[in-house]
């Protein structure tokens, strides 16, 4: 039995959304998704999943505050404390049991509400071994970036190329918060923050919400939908402990991709897949993730991005949406946004960003500092 995406709803991503509380943000994205899918959540949906972490939301038990604005009151609903793609994986599994025909997956960021955002991120560090060191949590990204650059002999120029590509791509995405005409020189001159990472290498927080509606092929047919198929999905966690994880290769992404490719029967990802949306919340992550996904050989992603291979008009477009560098860091909604972008491209609905003739795309996510967890989804155009 196949599972497809039949509805996509997103709010714009913005640095702050003072006119909305989180419920209203969710309501807008959900309303758009339900209109897109032509469904009534009160009648047509069997399961609702929100992807959220209490500390980002500022509540002790976030799922309490979810049902009404999604149409989920007195309906099966749960929180997956994970990234949007992990939520997507659980919705797929629910549908594949045969118990659920139509599922809704939601994720959002209201980072502008978080007064001590750095402190919340720091609070996820191991309380005994790491937090007492008193370092800003992004030091972890700086250390990993340094390890990755050395192990793969990637140059800082490659990071700058990612920054320029993605921030500029954001200019062609009406939802993006931080689209800007940045070039590689500006990136290389921006202030050093967590060496070797500079200010422009780091995506800025944004508010936004993404809602996807999923259906079994049987339900999609009944609803006369033209789904984008989720051909394969995988997720994995490397060691949560900083001291015992792989620092160079994004192993979590490799394991997740292996599972997704196996289910999607993708044998040669570099040729079977046409484009990708991967996590770039720190510029080096885009390159590290592409290599882990088998979309570039180890050490090659840096050379290829400088060469222009990953541009919108390149041989293998990566983060045409603008990625997180261009759109903004929407925390747990990041992976769901990537899946939505891949789906829009496969439908032919990506507006001025539309890539020609794409049939299969990969969306990949990472759960951000300090995790070594991520997910991968392979999406394909119908039939």
């Amino acid at each position: 039995m196949r599972v497809g995406i039949i509805g996509i709803g997103m709010t714009a991503f913005r640095p702050s959304t003072p006119e909305y509380n989180w419920k209203e943000l969710m309501f807008e994205a959900a309303s758009r998704a339900y209109a897109d899918a032509a469904i009534n959540p009160r009648e047509d949906v069997d399961s609702f999943i929100t992807c959220a972490e209490d500390y980002y939301e500022g509540f002790g038990i976030f799922d309490e505050f979810v049902p009404d604005q999604l149409g989920a009151a007195l309906r099966p609903t749960c929180t997956v404390s994970g990234d949007g793609l992990q939520g997507l994986a659980n919705a797929c599994m629910q549908i594949q049991t045969g118990l659920v025909d139509v599922a809704v997956v939601e994720a959002h960021s209201k980072a502008s509400d978080v007064v001590t955002l750095d402190g919340v991120i720091e609070h996820a560090l191991d309380p005994i071994w790491n937090k007492p060191l008193g370092a800003h949590p992004f030091v972890v990204a700086g250390l990993e970036a340094d390890a990755y650059l050395r192990a793969t002999r990637t140059t800082p120029k490659a990071l700058a190329a990612v920054v320029a590509k993605n921030r500029r791509n954001g200019l062609r995405n009406p939802l993006a918060a931080y689209g800007a005409a940045v070039d590689a020189d500006q990136a290389m001159r921006s202030e050093e923050r967590f060496a070797p990472l500079r200010a422009l290498d780091i995506s800025n927080p944004a508010d936004g919400c993404v809602v996807l509606v999923l259906a079994s092929d049987r339900a999609a047919k009944k609803l006369h939908s033209n789904p984008v198929w989720i051909r394969g999905i995988g997720w994995a966690s490397d060691s949560p402990s900083l001291e015992t994880r792989d620092w160079t290769g994004a192993t979590y992404a490799r394991i997740a991709a292996d599972m997704a490719y196996r289910l999607a029967k993708v044998r040669r990802p570099a040729t079977d897949i046409d484009f990708a949306e991967v996590d770039d919340r720190f510029s080096y992550k885009e390159l590290q993730h592409l290599e882990a996904l088998g979309l570039a050989k180890k050490g090659e992603a840096g050379t290829r991005v400088v060469r222009g291979d990953y541009g919108a008009d390149g041989r293998f477009p990566v983060n045409v949406s603008g990625g997180s560098l261009g759109c903004g860091n929407v925390f747990e909604a990041t992976g769901l946004h990537r899946a939505a972008e891949v789906a829009l491209q496969l439908r032919g609905d990506a507006g001025v960003r539309q890539l020609d003739g794409v049939r299969a795309g990969v969306a990949q996510s990472w759960r951000f500092i300090p995790s070594a967890t991520g997910a991968v989804a392979v999406l394909g155009a119908g039939p």
Partner: protein
Amino acid sequence: MIGAGMTLFRRRLQETGKEMCFEATKMALDSAGLTRADVDMVVCGTAPDAFDGVAMKGEYLLDGSGGYRKPCTRVFTGGGTGVFSTIAGWWHVASGLADVVLVVNEEKMSSCQPHPQSVFANIWDPILDRPLKPNLVWIFAMEMNRYMTVYGVKKEDIARVAVKNKRNAVGHPCAQLADPNITVDDVLNSEVMAWPVQRLDISPPSDGASAVILASEDFIRKRRIKDRAWISGVGWCIDSTMWTDRDLVFPEYVARAAKHAYKMAKIDAPRRQIDFAEPYDPFDYKELHHLEGLLLADKGEAPVLTREGVTERDGKLPVCPSGGLLGVGNPIAATMGMKIGELFWQLTGQAGKRQIPHEVHTGVSQAWGDLMQYGSVVVMKG
């Protein structure tokens, strides 16, 4: 389900959350004769991160839960997590994606100083509720009072639940608050917290972890596993956030979850077809409230069944033979050990001193959470 394990439940354990997960996981794997290598995927159920004092708690716990380099999922539905994580584990297997799934639930409430109750200050709507400075005892007192008022239920009958469960817990090796001698008078004489709730009506905060192993039919057949119980029905449901707009006398969301689970389990007459039950009992009146929500008693009838001894371990419908949260302890998500674990142990004849003296084939477990809002239900058959 082919294995289960749980740690001691205590007000404060020395072990870290990771270590508690490891203990429970090891016990569950040992009980099923498996190792970490046999596990395809891990599901973690754990409630507010603020108890343990670590953000993204599921990431922190996953290596203690055997999740290293495996697909891991954390689910969190407040107090409903004790049963809900098993439902999530079920869909990991029933989807066909995994043969063996480990479900690990953990809670370390003692880290929270001065008392875990302070975490609950943040579960309220910041504009509508928090300025009133509510706490859980307060709102559960409102629900308890509503239930008592509508059906004319006396405190004595509610207190019988605390007595039954704390006495049942004497047979539980992990129990924090077992008491073979507790009486209804003890409960009625205990300190009033917020009328009509008294101290002995409430389960304690606890540290603890529990784990269960779920496996596909194929795996069970190939490995010829004898000690197993089948998950035959699952259901889950959340009600509106606006608890102040709802009549608290009946948990409609529990009934809806139960109906889904019963339908899936092909149970159309639960009162006849369910042999025993583990409803969520963080307060004694909740067992009664939930028995009615589970459609095992008519509205207002649960206190009568209790008074008549029907719900004793040797009664016609044993309820909370484990000792429940009242007797064993309440480390929120880790209560899976009594709600789900107990079903497994009873159905496979491994409940030791707690074994129900007559044959049981079908049990139902239920958890409850959020703002008097969430119901998760699992039906298991031997």
